[in-house]
């Protein structure tokens, strides 16, 4: 399937892409208007938003095991250069 987007964004595209952090104010207004007149769109928009939130919640940053860090520094021949905790 090709990835080309039509020049004119469909209402769905506006709804979905409107969730981006870098959305511009005009699109924001259009989305608000769309959501007001279409309850299903409102629920849909809300569910996409929740999907992203749920992924953010479970995909939180994990710490490296100490062994993993040691293996990394060893492979890079940097194990002797790790600063001591009091440095």
């Amino acid at each position: 399937m090709k990835d080309e987007v039509k020049t004119e964004s469909s209402p769905f595209e506006k709804l979905c892409l409107g969730l981006s952090h870098d959305m511009d104010a005009d699109i924001c207004k259009e989305i608000a208007a769309e959501l007001e007149k279409c309850p299903d769109c409102h629920f849909f928009y809300n569910s996409v938003e929740k999907t992203i939130e749920m992924y953010r919640e479970v995909e939180n940053n994990k710490n490296l095991d100490e062994d993993m860090e040691l293996r990394l520094l060893r492979i890079l021949n940097l194990e002797d250069f790790k600063p001591c905790d009091d440095e």
Partner: protein, 195 residues
Amino acid sequence: MKNELEIIEKAQNGDRKAQTELVLRYEKKVFNLALRMMRDKEDAEDVMQETFLTALRKLHTFEGRSQFFTWLYRITMNISLQKLRERNKSNAMVSLSDPDIESIHGQHLSEWPAFSSRLMTNNDFRKLLDKALKELPAIYRSVFILRDLEGLSTIETQKLLDLTESNVKVRLMRARYYLRQNLQKYFQENQFNER
């Protein structure tokens, strides 16, 4: 904390302490990005090691035109995508369709359940989230991860993945739609009723 550009310059001149400092500064970010892409701890460790080996080898080519972490992320993504391509040669991937606004109208959708810690700690639910992200073809997963999980902008994502703005947007839309549909199925099967 020392100025990053100073550390990079020292590392480029072969200062091993500065190289170590860079690795320690970014190991967690690189590991987590690799883990999100690979969906497996051992594979993520391999990607992280390869990323830093490549980064230190090519450090002299970093000219400071982008932020250092963007440069490092680009290496991480390239290595992850390469490994996923090799791994998926024999695996069938899901195909993603374009969402259709007409199908939303008149569906009588209703509010999803509230975002609760009980739901988020439910093992079956977490497995479902992981499975759906694993099934998502790498070209879509990479955009979803960079945009929605790592918080990069469209421009940063397109530069990092060598895509056009349109490519980023359409891939993000399809990825979000696919993941959303998976959750919808789960909520339906678990007595979450439509209106």
